[in-house]
């Protein structure tokens, strides 16, 4: 091989060679080869040095310098492959998986490093030999560097070529193990358990321009070695970190630079990820961001800091001691080294680690956002964390997408009650308002909820209940929600006051300037179609009203609900209602709440009038006291007097109240007429509340009931058994209603029902002896009874649907007439015709849907027929 090389390279020299010199060359060359072999395989025996030197000189004389260099390098490579690499890999062969023992790892590295050091020594001998021949004609240093670079290259290529597949894993495992060790040592106040998740998918983010960063830090890192450690842990850590540093340095010298960095970076990131998952967990009531940051400072950054510092030492050949001077000197109190004099590389690492932590936490929180929002007020620390993460990472769109899909999957389903959806909606608004005050993302997230809620019938009702039931009066609604919405009303009031200031034309320039300088552009994700930030001001009530579309519907529903509540009041205490109304007025405007205000005013007036009438009536009439045993005194009688024009339609059923009461009513009305001439009273006898006591022989039970219940039970005073027909006639209600209402007493065990002679006619009997007093609330169950009575007493105010039906009946004649003339008509045509002709009082202002539901009602009453989308008169 040597000959062939020389024949190729040195043809010109070859010609000039004499036999003598050929002889000499061959001799020198053989000698050189032998010396090389001895040197390389000589296990530290450098005694062949002088001999080697003379051969080198001999060959150089003939200009064969490059030949011997190549040969020597080749020999080095072969020897390294045999002695170094093969042995090195053999250490790991036994371990198919990655769990190589630390000891083995160290030994292997030690061995191969020794081998390499020895070879470098040999190479140095060659270099010296060549230099001594050339007498410095080369730039000696360059020459040395060049040779060493070549050697280094061959070492790494040999290793790379024989690299077992699992070696990177082994490295990864090694660093992970060390990191955990370090974490246990450092983690006095950051306890952690090693529940590593073994997903290897995440270690890919770390191999971007690692080398640059590390190199930067070599230079600067050495300035501050070890200053970070608190005194107690110093030695321990130092040893550990030194070990790691040595390993890294050895690996680096073997040419595994990038692989090593990959390994420890991925180990750090995986470790960090596990830590974040561990710290964050499923508890949303505490903020974890700070502790994660603290942990980053305490463990991985310490690790990197020390590592970089150590490597920095070893790269620069200068004095090491300079770094050790400062562990006490520089700020012994602070635990975080990076803050004092962070090296650039360390700062970059810190930024990367923090970004990664933010991202991990953010992903974690985003996937759990639904749960977080479910327990919103408690989970606000988690929301706050998420906000900070998002500010850092800017991945809001991820949040929106993931949350919307969670909503669709978990909330917007038929199984969820409207109340729950609304509750979640409100929480969402509040939570997202924290994250994103401009409301851009909220808009995107809220859209599906709003769309869905619009399709639900009871949405308005639920909203109004939430708005008004601040005190949690209705057990069906979670008081919390109501509270929060009422709070919103309150908050809104304050805002309005502030807004009033802002709108003031006389705001001075200074204020204007402050406002202007506070302006921030919308986030890039903002939809330009949706208007500017001003209009998008996050306003929970506004967003809730937005679900319904118009405030009129909401106000109407509120009015119905308010009427119901007011009519069932037996005292005149309306303080909470007044407060709610005032708040609503601020939000919806005074004019739309006008009717509700009149309703409340009626109550106030009633109280006054009631007092007035009762005070004067006892002077003039003795009706109450004359009635003896069965009597009802005027003292226990109160009335609510309403301005019926302003109240929702009231379902007034006919009812014959018991005689004494009827007497009271007419006295009362007469007195009213006297006081308020020419106004008179029209009693709505079925409305109101009655508190009564049933006195049995052995006990007395109190109830709060509707007048119809009172009328029923009072009939049983004189006659303990009634047939339903007779009873219905006596109290003046239709039999079916009686049968429905009397169930109240049956369920209380006061009355018993049995079939009479006529199958249509039931017989009700008073259970005087009270077989089972404990069955449904005895003497002491009056509170429960109160509620039951409330629930059972059917709504005295017509629901919105019923009102609609009443309003539509006006048009029934029109519709029937039209159909008589035209034979059959489609829904559209009926709608349009009505619109065209019914412009007088009352004008036709119903929607197509309303008309359709009315027509459906007529069909079910068998007045109309519907065939193929056309309506006919039923023949």
């Amino acid at each position: 091989m040597a000959d062939s090389i020389s024949s190729v390279c040195n043809l010109a020299i070859l010609d000039k060679l004499s036999d003598g010199s050929i002889e000499e060359i061959l001799e020198s060359y053989n000698g050189f080869c032998a010396a090389t072999d001895t040197l390389l395989n000589g296990a530290g025996d450098l005694s062949v040095g002088p001999q080697f030197l003379s051969h080198v000189h001999g060959l150089c004389k003939h200009g064969l310098e490059s030949l011997l260099r190549d040969h020597f390098l080749g020999a080095l490579e072969r020897t390294f492959e045999k002695n170094g690499a093969l042995k090195f890999w053999r250490h790991f062969e036994a371990y198919d998986d990655v769990s190589v023992e630390e000891e083995v790892f160290y030994n292997a590295l030690e061995e191969i490093s020794l081998e390499k050091q020895y070879q470098e020594k040999c190479l140095l001998i060659l270099v010296h030999a060549l230099q001594s021949y050339n007498h410095g004609s080369h730039d000696s240093n360059d020459y040395r560097v060049e040779l060493f670079a070549k050697y280094q290259m061959s070492v790494s290529s040999v290793l790379m070529a024989t690299l077992p597949r699992h070696f990177p894993e082994i490295l990864h495992w090694y660093f992970k193990g060390r990191l955990e060790e370090l974490s246990t040592i450092m983690g006095g106040d950051f306890p952690h358990d090693d529940d590593e998740d073994d997903d290897d998918d995440d270690d890919d983010k770390d191999d971007m321009d690692l080398d640059d960063k590390c190199k930067v830090s070599y230079r600067s890192g050495q300035m501050e070695i070890d200053e970070c450690y608190p005194q107690g842990r110093f030695l321990d850590n130092n040893k550990l970190v030194n070990n790691i540093g040595k390993v890294v340095r050895d690996l680096r010298s073997l040419g595994f630079t990038s692989m090593t960095e990959d390994a420890y970076a991925s180990a750090i990131f995986l470790f960090l990820k596990a830590k974040v998952h561990d710290l964050a967990g499923d508890d949303y009531r505490i903020s974890v961001l700070e502790s994660i940051k603290g942990w980053i400072q305490a463990v991985p950054l310490q690790f990197l800091h020390a590592l970089l510092a150590y490597l920095g030492d070893s790269v620069s050949y200068d004095s090491v001691s300079s770094g050790l001077k400062s562990p006490l000197a520089s700020c012994p109190s602070t635990f975080y080294p990076g803050i004092d004099t962070p090296s650039e590389g360390l700062v970059r690492w810190q930024l990367r680690l923090e970004y990664f932590a933010y991202e991990t936490l953010q992903d974690l929180r985003i996937t759990k956002l639904f749960e977080i929002i479910v327990d919103y007020p408690d989970s606000s620390p988690a929301i706050e964390d998420l906000k900070q993460c998002l500010e850092y990472t800017g991945q809001h769109s991820k949040l929106v997408e993931s949350f919307i899909s969670a909503l669709r999957y978990r909330l917007l389903t038929a199984g969820a009650s409207t109340n729950d959806i609304l509750h979640q909606y409100v929480s969402t608004i509040k939570a997202l308002r924290t994250i994103d005050p401009a409301g851009v993302f909220l808009e995107a997230v809220g859209e599906p909820i709003r769309d869905y809620l619009r399709g639900r019938k009871d949405t308005i009702k639920c909203i109004v209940t939430m708005l008004t039931d601040g005190t949690g009066g209705n057990p069906n609604v979670s008081g919390n929600t109501g509270d929060s919405l009422l709070e919103e009303l309150n908050r809104d009031e304050e805002n309005q006051e502030n807004a009033g200031l802002d709108d003031d034309f006389h705001t001075d320039d200074k204020q204007a300037w402050i406002n202007a300088s506070r302006w921030e552009p919308d986030p890039v994700e903002a939809d330009p179609l949706k208007g500017s930030r001003n209009r998008r001001k996050v306003d929970i009530l506004g967003m809730i009203v937005g679900i319904i579309g118009s405030k009129d519907q909401l106000v109407n529903e509120y009015r119905v609900m308010l009427a119901e509540k007011l009519l069932n009041k037996s005292d005149y205490d309306i303080d909470t209602e007044i407060r709610t109304l005032e708040l609503l007025k601020i939000h919806f405007g005074e004019s739309s709440m006008q009717k509700c205000e009149i309703m409340l005013n009626d109550l106030i007036d009633s109280k006054r009038t009631n007092g007035n009438i009762k005070a004067t009536i006892t002077q003039t009439s003795q009706a109450g006291s004359e009635l003896g045993d069965n009597g009802v005194s005027m003292d226990v009688f109160d009335a609510t007097i309403i301005s019926s024009n302003f109240w929702p339609q009231i379902q007034d059923e006919s009812l014959n109240v018991p005689g004494p009461v009827d007497q009271l009513l007419s006295d009362y009305a007469k007195r009213f007429n006297e006081i308020k001439t020419p106004r008179k009273l029209l009693w709505k006898k079925s409305l109101g509340t009655v508190k009564l006591e049933l006195q049995f022989e052995d006990r007395a039970v109190q109830f709060v009931v509707a007048p119809v219940h009172a009328a029923i039970i009072m009939q049983f005073q004189d006659q303990t058994s009634w047939t339903s027909k007779n009873l219905a006639a006596a109290i003046g209600v239709p039999t079916d209603i009686l049968n429905r209402r009397i169930n109240f007493w049956i369920s209380k065990g006061i009355l018993a029902e049995s079939l009479g002679a006529d199958s249509e006619d039931h017989v009700f009997t008073l259970m005087e002896g009270m077989v089972d007093s404990g069955k449904n609330g005895g003497t002491n169950g009056s509170i429960e009874d109160l509620i039951v009575a409330d629930e059972e007493g059917e709504s005295s105010v017509a629901s919105v649907e019923d009102q609609l039906r009443k309003e539509m009946t006006v048009y029934e004649k029109f519709i029937l007439g039209m159909l008589t003339n035209f034979g059959s008509m489609a829904l559209d045509r009926i709608h349009n015709t009505l619109k065209m002709f019914c412009i007088a009082d009352p004008p036709y202002d119903k929607t197509l849907q309303q008309l359709q539901s009315f027509l459906t009602g007529l069909v079910s009453e068998e007045k109309l027929e519907l065939r193929d989308g056309m309506y006919f008169l039923k023949k």
Binding site: L567, K569, S570, Q594, E597, I598, N601, D605, V632, V636, F637, D638, A639, T640, I641, I642, S643, S644, N645, F646, W647, V661, L664, L665, Y668, A669, F672, N673, K676, T677, P678, R679, K680, L681, L682, W683, K684, K685, L687, G688, T689, V690, K691, L692, E693, L694, Q695, F696, Q702, P707, A710, I713, M714, F716, Q717, T720, L766, E768
Partner: protein, 84 residues
């Protein structure tokens, strides 16, 4: 068994005892109030003329005051006099 009524809270609506439903001037219900008022009832009473026609007090006052000479009842054109 004996029923003792401890409290009876009844509900009634009031109405003006007039023959007509709406005020002839503002065309609003008597039981409502005139356009200038917010609260019905005592705050916006009715008034009868000698001719027995009733109007919102505020409506007829406005009418009477707007006439240059002696005012007439808007309904029957008789001379307007408040019923005593």
């Amino acid at each position: 068994m004996k029923v003792n009524i401890l409290q009876w809270h009844a509900v009634a609506s009031w109405t003006w005892d007039a023959q007509d439903e709406t005020c002839g001037i503002c065309r609003m219900a008597f039981d409502g109030c005139c356009p200038a008022c917010k609260l019905p009832g005592d705050d916006c009473p009715l008034i009868w003329g000698a001719c027995n026609h009733a109007f919102h007090l505020h409506c007829i006052l406005k009418w009477v005051n707007s006439q240059t000479s002696q005012a007439h009842c808007p309904m029957c054109r008789r001379e307007w006099q408040f019923k005593g």
